[in-house]
């Protein structure tokens, strides 16, 4: 066996809740435990037992293991032990078996909502990949998708911990009817993320800072035969310029989005509420997405407290062709859904057009007319899309 490494995993500090901090120091003596738990009376014994079993199963039998438990759930304990073992034994392939899923399907694997290329993606809720407590109930808030983020919300030193936590969260937690997304890291690190998550129950991978079709091709190779979908994020001038090539790079692509924080940094401009500095990029992303038959999805609105600002931002996004927006807080979801919803008048008019079209079809007429007005085919197509969207939103609200 290679020599054992001193290491730590998990989180500690006064504000940490629902997590654990583990620190390992190699030594010749039989594995010694320094254990403290906020929940000593209630779960002290079961926590100790679980951690000891995992350490023993993976051959960590000597040295000292320090544990500071702040109420970590078993799936978190497993994740933290997984990354600790990887570091201590210098073997990133080590995986701890996950807790059984909270919502199992008939074969015992996690229940996954069905997904398809053009499902509703109005809202996607970002969840920091190394913070368990926000993951627990994320699905209950009713976003169309949750994103377990391994990239910008995770400190460089915590990347390995985050991958393990995201893997265990995917296997164990119930995200309800949400599409399960993971944002991987950029480039090589992202490829490693995907390899570590191989087989984990997820629908879609958000690929950050994509600049070329080749990057998508490389990831296509990694995911192999799986049904995993892609959403490239364009966050640099080069990426935006190559939008169409990126959008057409893989049949896995379902949507194109952009990251405005990084893009404005790349452009050397200040991000403003009006967004004039990135207006062209937004249009480029929308045009490329539509040309490639993908959804165009807007960036996030970062100021959680400003609900009116969010509302204005979504109204504008919808008006120029975006179909969804990222959320950094659950309270943004409802506003985003409300603003992407077509108005009652719009829906009524669309239904009338669709009805007129169906009637014309039934009568074998080549021309569709509503009252005295002739309806062009693109108008019919738009009306059909709008009716379908309205119906989907109604059924999504029921599940909210």
């Amino acid at each position: 066996m290679a020599s054992l490494q001193p290491c730590e995993s998990g989180r500690r500090g006064d504000d940490v809740r629902g997590d654990v901090w583990l620190a390992y120091a190699p030594g010749n003596q039989e594995l010694a435990w320094e254990f403290s738990s906020k929940l000593e009376a209630l779960f002290g014994a079961t926590t100790r037992q679980l951690l000891a079993e995992l350490a023993a199963n993976h051959g960590l039998t000597s040295g000292t293991l320090q544990v500071e438990d702040k109420g970590a759930y078993p799936f978190v304990l497993r994740a933290r032990m997984e990354s600790l073992l990887q570091k201590a034994l210098a073997d990133e392939s080590i995986q701890v078996s996950p807790e059984p899923p909270l919502a199992p399907s008939a074969d015992g694997t996690p229940q996954l909502s069905s997904t398809r290329k053009d499902r509703l993606r109005r809202s996607r809720l970002y969840l920091p990949g190394n913070e368990a407590k926000y993951m627990l109930n994320a699905g209950l808030h009713g976003p169309d998708a949750v994103i377990l983020d391994l990239e910008d919300s995770v400190a460089p030193a915590s990347k390995q911990d985050a991958v393990a936590l995201v893997r265990h969260a995917l296997w164990t937690l119930d995200f309800g009817s949400c599409e399960r997304m993971v944002r991987i890291n950029q480039g090589e690190a992202g490829i490693k993320d995907l390899q570590a998550l191989a087989g984990a129950p997820l629908h879609l991978v958000l690929i950050p800072k994509v600049e070329s079709a080749e990057e998508i091709h490389a990831l296509d190779q990694v995911v192999g035969e799986t049904k995993i979908l892609f959403m490239p994020i364009l966050e640099t001038a080069r990426g935006v310029l190559n939008a169409l090539a990126i959008a057409e790079a893989s049949p896995r692509n379902v949507a194109l989005t952009l990251g405005l924080e990084d893009l404005t940094a790349d452009l050397g401009v200040v991000k403003t509420p009006g967004g004039a500095e990135t207006a062209w990029a937004s249009s480029q992303v929308i045009y490329a997405a539509k040309a490639a038959g993908l959804q165009a999805i807007d960036s996030v609105y970062g100021n959680v407290a400003d609900e009116d600002g969010l509302r204005r931002s979504v109204k504008f996004a919808k008006s120029i062709g975006f179909e969804g927006k990222g959320c950094v807080h659950p309270r943004q979801i409802k506003i985003i859904h409300q603003e992407f919803a077509p108005s009652e008048e719009e829906v009524a008019k669309a239904r009338a057009i669709v009805a007129a079209f169906e009637e014309a079809q039934a009568k074998g007429l080549g021309v569709v007319s509503l009252g005295s007005k002739m309806i062009d085919p693109p108008v019919v197509k738009r009306a059909q899309a709008l009716v379908r969207l309205a119906d989907e939103m109604t059924s999504a609200e029921k599940n909210d």
């Binding site: 809740r17 009376a41 779960f43 014994a45 079961t46 759930y73 029921k398 909210d400």
Partner: protein
């Protein structure tokens, strides 16, 4: 120690508490005591100043003045001193009272507050040195911990706000000296809480003390010429008036339990409840509701207000715990009346002073079970918190799952008598499941609890078939409580271990009728 008694709910309680025989809980409405109420001694105007000036003439700080007043009141070893908690964590009077008692060298006092807060932690020293023998009243924070560890010489007795009135009125607790902090008072002893530099709203919790104590002292930092208008406390019940620099810090009325939650999961619970109240038809013109202290229940009021506006529905009255949200409802015409038992923020204080529809109440009108009715059973829906609930819908508000006594009952037990009682709880708190097979301490019986609302959805008491029927078609997820419990247990890695408790009882939990519904045992280690 004599053998414990068993309550009708199967809980074991001590046969005797601080020298009094215990009547075990006999079920809801199962205990009907006979006889007459207690009464204070007969007094004569001949013994009080004809000009109505009852001011204590003494120099120095509050402690020095209280020393004179308490000596004049005849403070002796073993007496019972009461205080109220309208300043919540900003109270300055209770600590000063016991500083004065200590200075007088008096021992073995019983403190009978309407509630205690972390600001009363300095009184631990007096529990340790024998000045205070024990506390009968809700114990929050450090005092609760002290009691849990079995360090208090007497047994703690926790009563609801209504139960405190009942205990005094029925003669179970005799108050020797009541010391009442008053933000405004005159020299005769008329007092109000709604104005003055330290305005805290109302003084309803101190009303029973003023009426039944042998001796009542008003302490004020805003002495006004007679008559103090309005008067919430009548000078005819007051023996002495002490003028001091400051009686309390009203800004500290606001605390964690009186602020709206920011947690998305807890906001979701509040939203579920408001939707439920709307969807099952409770929210209809002329309805009434009460939202207790606690971040979730306050947020419920915020959501409900939006739905009421959407539907054009106004209430006929709301009960508080008033706060800015209830005040907005009053001022926007969504309710003509707030029946207020205590103010939870300074907007509530302002409104009580300015709005004629903002009526101060007392535990007598709102909660006392041994009266000719009270308000709590007339309310359509009440939303409360809990530390734990069980699959039988029993609930706990005083202890944590590790057995420690950390919270008071407040008006919680009294409110259970509403037409629909909803407990708002997260299903789990940092791996501690909130839904158990059996609560650690039974404070409220399941037969009075209609709905348990969590972020996952709502569990309706199977006995409430009407609500189950009415909730069909609601947007709110309705769950079976056993299914929810299994799911939470799975997330947490099984149900938690039972806390390690000693045999000895450290506190009795009284039911609204003076019976003992459960008891708290010493926490080991």
């Amino acid at each position: 120690m004599t053998e414990p008694l068993q309550t009708k709910a199967g809980r074991l309680v001590p046969a005797e508490v601080n020298g009094r025989d215990v009547i075990p809980y006999a079920g809801v409405g199962g205990h009907r005591p006979q006889g007459n109420q207690a009464a204070p001694p007969i007094r004569s105007c001949a013994d009080y100043p004809a000009d109505g000036d009852k001011r204590v003439h003494a120099e120095g700080d509050m402690v020095a003045k209280l020393k004179v007043a308490l000596a004049h009141a005849g403070l002796k070893d073993g007496m019972t001193i009461s205080t109220h908690h309208h300043f919540r964590n900003g109270d300055l009077v209770a600590n000063a009272v016991f500083d004065a008692a200590k200075a007088l060298g008096v021992k073995d006092l019983r403190w009978f507050p309407s509630a205690s807060f972390p600001c009363h932690a300095p009184l631990l020293a007096y529990l340790e040195d024998g000045t205070i023998h024990h506390i009968e009243g809700s114990m929050n924070g450090p005092l609760g911990d002290f009691c849990s560890q079995g360090k208090m010489r007497g047994m703690g007795v926790l009563r609801s706000h209504g139960g405190r009135w009942q205990a005094v009125q029925d003669g179970e607790v005799h108050i020797d000296i009541a010391v009442l902090a008053a933000p405004t008072a005159d020299a005769f002893g008329n007092a109000t809480g709604d104005r003055g530099p330290s305005a805290c709203g109302l003084l309803g919790f101190g009303l029973v003390d003023s009426q039944y104590a042998d001796h009542a002292i008003v302490v004020t930092d805003n002495l006004v010429p007679f008559p103090c208008l309005p008067w919430q406390i009548q000078g005819q019940n007051i023996d002495q008036v002490v003028e001091v620099d400051k009686v309390g810090i009203p800004e500290k009325i606001v605390s964690g339990t009186t602020r709206v939650t920011k947690s998305p999961d807890r906001l979701l619970i509040a939203e579920h409840i408001a939707k439920f109240v709307r969807d099952v038809g409770i929210m209809k013109p002329g309805f009434s509701f009460q939202a207790g202290a606690g971040g979730i229940t306050l947020a419920f009021a915020m959501y409900l207000k939006e739905y009421m506006k959407e539907a054009g529905v106004a209430a006929s009255f709301v009960r508080g715990g008033s706060n800015q949200y209830l005040v907005e409802m009053l001022e926007e015409g969504l309710t003509p009346v707030i029946l207020d038992g205590q103010t939870f923020d300074l907007e509530g204080v302002r409104s009580m002073r300015e709005n004629s529809g903002h009526q101060h109440t007392s535990p007598f009108t709102s909660y006392n079970f041994h009266g000719k009715g009270n308000f709590s059973s007339m309310i359509d829906v009440v939303v409360l918190g809990a530390t734990e609930v069980d699959v039988h819908f029993n609930a706990n508000v005083v202890t944590h799952s590790d057995g420690r006594l950390l919270h008071g009952i407040g008006g919680w037990q009294n409110c259970l008598f509403s037409r629909c009682t909803i407990l708002a709880v997260p299903s789990v708190r940092d791996r501690i499941p909130v839904i158990l097979d059996e609560v650690t301490t039974m404070v409220g019986p399941g037969e009075l609890i209609d709905v348990i609302a969590t972020e996952q959805g709502l569990c309706i008491n199977p006995a409430r078939t009407d609500l189950i029927e009415a909730a069909r078609g609601s947007q709110v997820p309705i769950l079976n409580i056993h299914d929810l419990k299994s799911r939470i247990d799975q997330l947490c890695g099984g149900p938690p271990a039972k806390p390690k408790l000693g045999d000895e009882f450290v506190a009795a939990i009284q039911w609204v009728d003076g019976t003992t519904i459960d008891a708290v045992r010493r926490v080991k280690g």
